[in-house]
Amino acid sequence: MTFEEARDYLLQQARKLGLEAEVLATHTRELTIQAHGGRVEEITQATQGGIGVRVVVEGKTGYAYSEERTPQALDWVLQEAHENALLQSETGGFLPAGSELGRHDLLGEGLSAPLEQKRQAALELEADLRADPRVKQVQMTRYSESETQATLGSTRGVAGAFRNGYALLLTSAIMGEQGSLKQGYEYELSKEFHALEPGRTAQAFLQKTGRLLGARPLKTGRYKAYFEPKAFGQLLGMMGWFLLSAKNVLEGKSLLAGKIGQKVASEIFTLVDDPTLPGGLASRPFDAEGTAARRTVLIENGILRTFAHNSETAQKMGMENTGHAARSYKGVLGIAPTNLFVQPGQGVKMDEGIVVTDLMGLHAGANPISGEFSLQALGLKVEGGEMAYPVENFTVAGNFLELLSRITALGTELEWNPMMGIVGSPMVEVAELSFAGA
């Protein structure tokens, strides 16, 4: 059975049994080519997919999934989901009504290049890095690509499918000069294999990591902070999204609870999530419940406009569904961002402060429930409007909401970061933050 046949079979059986059911299938193909020491060291080729059902019986919700698509396996899935639902104590569950959403291809032929070219891309990136005498060790260099086909359907009329994917060049290496060692990483991500350029990725790595060599200690104090897009994107993906998820609001975990319509950030700060962005890496025509994609302004000129919702949280809070339902075939209904980005501004003019280029240890050092963070960082000291010298062994600390309210300027160029979801940010200037160093 194909995934679409399996979906149709499940819906047909569900109707026979008098169950409300929603079926989500995803199928992913992945390829990873890892280069080391001038040769291909490791290759992983994988195709993995499965089909998950959510059923609602007497207002109770149950889940089950299968990676096998035979009538026998699918019958078992429906029966288990039904039994799992009946065990629940919580009632009030429902499936949203929907319609025909069509089939969409958001990837096209972007990954269709011959294998040999992909091998070469990984090997070339590694060779370009090793050619620089300051590169002491190339720890990891890989080309990887991923292509996902998602199919959705429900007994309440939802039906649709889409395909998306990306190609990635990634490297992590150590540079050294006169006793100073710095480890860094760099990547390029695109929907088109041919848009990747190993030479450019290597140059970006050498420039970004090379500028940190010869770092000096930073004196503890309060400084103006200039977050590079990568660093701010990490913080926003980790902390910002947590605060904006309606699921966390309902569970009493978000500091933004009850603040709709209030000022929660600097008035130059506008935060948008847009699944309709052409060419966006996380673009999709509809969410995991079949709610059509649309652009959502979460924070507008500093004012909190809405949380991110699925049908369940929207109903519980009496608010409009923003179409942020997310679910893997093995998992339960949740909420996730798509292309999340900070609207660029008028530009940043540096005078005195610290450029924060990268943040580390986000899972341990950032607590989204309290909003507090204390993170090891890498950066450069800015003096008299110039990047004067690199600094090291310091942490930057504060409260995320205070940081948002102290944003004083935003860069003009948006840069996308795939490390914590797909997050876009310009350079972000923050009036003052606490830095702990020597």
Binding site: T44, Q45, Q48, E67, S89
Partner: protein
């Protein structure tokens, strides 16, 4: 699970493409999980996982691919892609052209369940869980009880280009109860989680009410415990899950995964005295119904009982196929993997320190001041140096040979290879405890175990 002709075709194509060895691993899982918090079902999920992993050897270089599309077209395409990626297509190996004559080995049902999952409905399970919750209510200070029931059924087929064909069936059940006790001083937990290669007879072997009671009592003990002392002292480690220290700090150093790379301090030490002579350390994949038992490993070899250390002398490592090729040691049926998304590596099964002859009470005699680590929690180890740190889940002060007041927050800190030399006495009350072990080839069910034993000196990290 898969047609013999198709399996043969895939393996033959891989050999024709230049691989020295090809192995196909196919599995189907049925998993159920039930999480109940304070009497209410919080999560009930069920799923079928189904897929295949193809591993090719080119000398000692390995390539791996997996898929859960098991149609003939998909498997053939996977094989061809892997061969092409290796860049060796076109090198026809004459040996690969012949047909494969599989020698089939099928599991005998040594660990088969007495009460299969299908024998009882979900209500029955929920009732047993509620018995465990009721059992945990040993005091009004028990504020919350959470129970997790896991049921796994796994069918496995391993076939390789040497004609091996092995089929295994593994059924496992585990009930995991966490009790939380709270008073003005704070919150403490107690955890008890028996698991075996059995079906629903787990509830007959371990009464749910008793599992709950133990978890509740442990939480209460920790609530009235004082902060643990710090310093170097003799420590008696309890039986059962206490064996986790030697699993981490000794067992992992004996897997060829680290031995072959000389990343283990115990590399190249066969025949040498590495532990005190009261120590015999065994890894046994054949224990009937053991949580880490199976009839075949994930490379299709029959599991076995491997004596690793005998009376202090290193006798064997735990060896998988690749580890055997790299080191020359005989494979010990230790190749394991979490599922088809991982290539196998050498892993532990049910690993324990064998019973000694010292009666348990004698271990405590003569200890003026020390720690009794009755139950252990999690920890970390660095295989290169064997350095470990482990949290004591339930601990007591030993004073003048007697077990006295409970203490909490103790950490045991040391180096595995040094600690095993300091084991001075081993009791005769061997018990095993189930756990999940995470490493290169994923997360796997294993048992750890030991009798009560005395370590002459160990660093205890505490706050007092």
């Amino acid at each position: 699970m898969l047609d013999e002709i198709l399996v043969g075709d895939v393996l033959r194509r891989a050999r024709l493409g230049g691989a020295d060895f090809a192995e196909l691993y196919v599995e189907r899982w049925r998993r159920r999980a039930l999480r109940v918090l304070s009497g209410e079902v919080k999560e009930a999920t069920s799923g079928i996982e189904y897929g295949a992993g193809l591993r090719l050897f080119y000398g000692t270089e390995v390539v791996y691919a997996y898929t859960n599309d098991l149609s003939p077209e998909s498997l053939v395409e996977l094989t061809e892609t892997l061969v092409k990626l290796k860049g060796s297509a076109g090198q026809v190996d004459a040996q690969g052209q012949g047909g494969l004559d599989f020698r089939k080995a099928v599991a005998q049902g040594l660990h088969a369940p007495a009460i299969p999952f299908t024998a009882r409905d979900k209500r029955y399970r929920l009732e047993r869980i509620r018995e465990a919750e009721a059992g945990a209510q040993v005091s009004p200070q028990i504020k919350q009880v959470q129970s997790n029931l896991m049921e796994w059924e796994q069918e496995v087929l391993v076939a390789n280009s040497e004609g091996k064909w092995a089929e295994d069936r593994r059924v496992r059940t585990r009930l995991y109860v966490t009790a939380i006790a709270q008073d003005e001083s704070g919150m403490q937990t107690g955890v008890v989680g028996p698991g075996l290669s059995v079906g629903l007879e787990l509830f007959d072997r371990y009464s749910p009410a008793e599992i709950g009671r133990k978890a509740g009592m442990q939480a209460l003990t920790n609530l009235r415990a004082k902060p643990a002392p710090a310093g170097s002292m003799p420590v008696v480690i309890g039986n059962g899950f206490g064996g986790v220290i030697f699993h981490e700090a000794l067992g992992h150093l004996l897997e060829t995964t680290s031995v072959a790379k000389k990343a283990s301090v115990l590399s190249d030490k066969l025949g040498e005295k590495v532990a005190s002579e009261v120590v015999t350390y065994i890894d046994d994949g054949t224990t009937p119904h053991g949580w880490g038992s199976s009839e075949f490993d994930d490379e299709g070899l029959p599991t076995e009982r491997t004596v690793l250390i005998e009376n202090g002398v290193l006798k064997s490592y735990m060896v998988d196929r690749l580890g055997g090729m790299l080191t020359g040691y005989r494979p010990t049926g230790s190749g394991r993997r979490q599922d088809y998304t991982f290539a196998p590596t050498s892993r532990m099964r049910n690993t324990y320190i064998a019973p000694g002859s010292t009666p348990r009470e004698k271990l405590f005699e003569g200890i003026e001041y020390g720690l009794y680590a009755a139950d252990m929690g999690g920890g970390q180890v660095r295989p290169g140096s064997g350095e470990y740190n482990f949290a004591v889940k339930e601990g007591y002060i030993i004073r003048n040979g007697r077990i006295e007041e409970p203490v909490r927050g103790a950490m045991l800190v040391g180096k595995g290879p040094e600690s095993i030399k300091r084991i001075v006495a081993v009791s005769d009350d061997l018990e095993m405890g189930p756990g999940m072990c995470g490493s290169l080839s994923g997360s796997l069910p294993v048992e750890v175990g030991q009798p009560h034993l005395l370590i002459s000196e160990i660093v205890v990290g505490g706050q007092a």
